[in-house]
């Protein structure tokens, strides 16, 4: 008989798998559309779910490549964060949840979120420079959100590491 926590974790694991697969599809589709756009510029009008960089592609193919790189990089980081979260579900043992492996995974998530935030921040600055050149590029760069996530998860990682130490001490308390 599963406890309420176990049921919630099982449901969350399913949701994370869906998110991970969705992010992989999103990133993969963007890459494929980008490759197609080299032979067929019309593909740049809809890279994925209405993402339109056709104006930028006509303006400068180098800058178009750079922007698509940022989009793919951010998508990859998001998928990686989802993958690390799925790994936590595989590693965690609810009878002794505070293990070093899980603590390392949580730390990796905070590092990945930080890198994603930096990528988004750089991309945002890049887009602003394109706007100054009179180009209209609409894309949402959640830099602040990722940096906030990085800070929160980093704090949780430190607290979790303390939990690992306390659990280890408790295990060796006779």
């Amino acid at each position: 008989m599963k406890t309420k926590t176990e049921r919630i974790l099982s449901a969350t694991q399913v949701v994370m798998w869906i998110i991970f697969i969705g992010l992989c599809i999103q990133t993969g589709a963007t890459v494929i559309s980008y490759c197609v756009s080299f032979y067929n510029p019309e593909a740049a009008k809809n890279l994925y779910m209405g993402l339109n960089f056709s104006e930028l592609r006509q303006y400068d193919i180098g800058q178009y490549q750079a922007l698509v790189f940022f989009v793919v990089a951010l998508g990859t980081m998001k998928a990686y964060i989802a993958y690390l979260t799925i790994k936590i579900f595989k590693e965690i043992n609810l009878s002794q949840p505070f293990s070093m492996e899980v603590a390392k995974l949580i730390q990796k998530i905070s590092q990945a979120a930080f890198i994603a935030g930096l990528v988004a921040l750089i991309a945002y600055g890049y887009i602003e420079s394109l706007h100054n050149d009179g180009l209209k590029v609409n894309y949402n760069w959640p830099a602040g959100e990722f940096l906030l996530l990085a800070g929160v998860v980093f704090t949780i990682a430190r607290v979790f590491k303390k939990g690992v130490e306390l659990q280890s001490e408790h295990e060796l308390t006779i």
Partner: protein, 66 residues
């Protein structure tokens, strides 16, 4: 300098095996082994009391600071 557990010394003096001590103090062999080999990080007073009662000794006979 560290706390050393002289459980095996007291057990030898009282001619008691690990199994017997385990039954008397209601501790598993694994936990007693952790204590005996000096891997324990802490010991509860209740455990120390039970061991001293079983071995008829003082805490200082089992724990030494050297």
């Amino acid at each position: 300098m560290q706390i050393v557990v002289n459980l095996d010394v007291m057990m030898a003096k009282r001619k008691m095996s690990l199994n017997e001590l385990s039954e008397k103090v209601d501790l598993t062999l694994a936990n007693l082994s952790i204590l005996k080999t000096g891997k324990a990080k802490a010991i509860r007073f209740s455990t120390l009391e039970a061991i001293c009662k079983a071995l008829d000794c003082q805490p200082g006979d089992i724990l030494e600071y050297k």
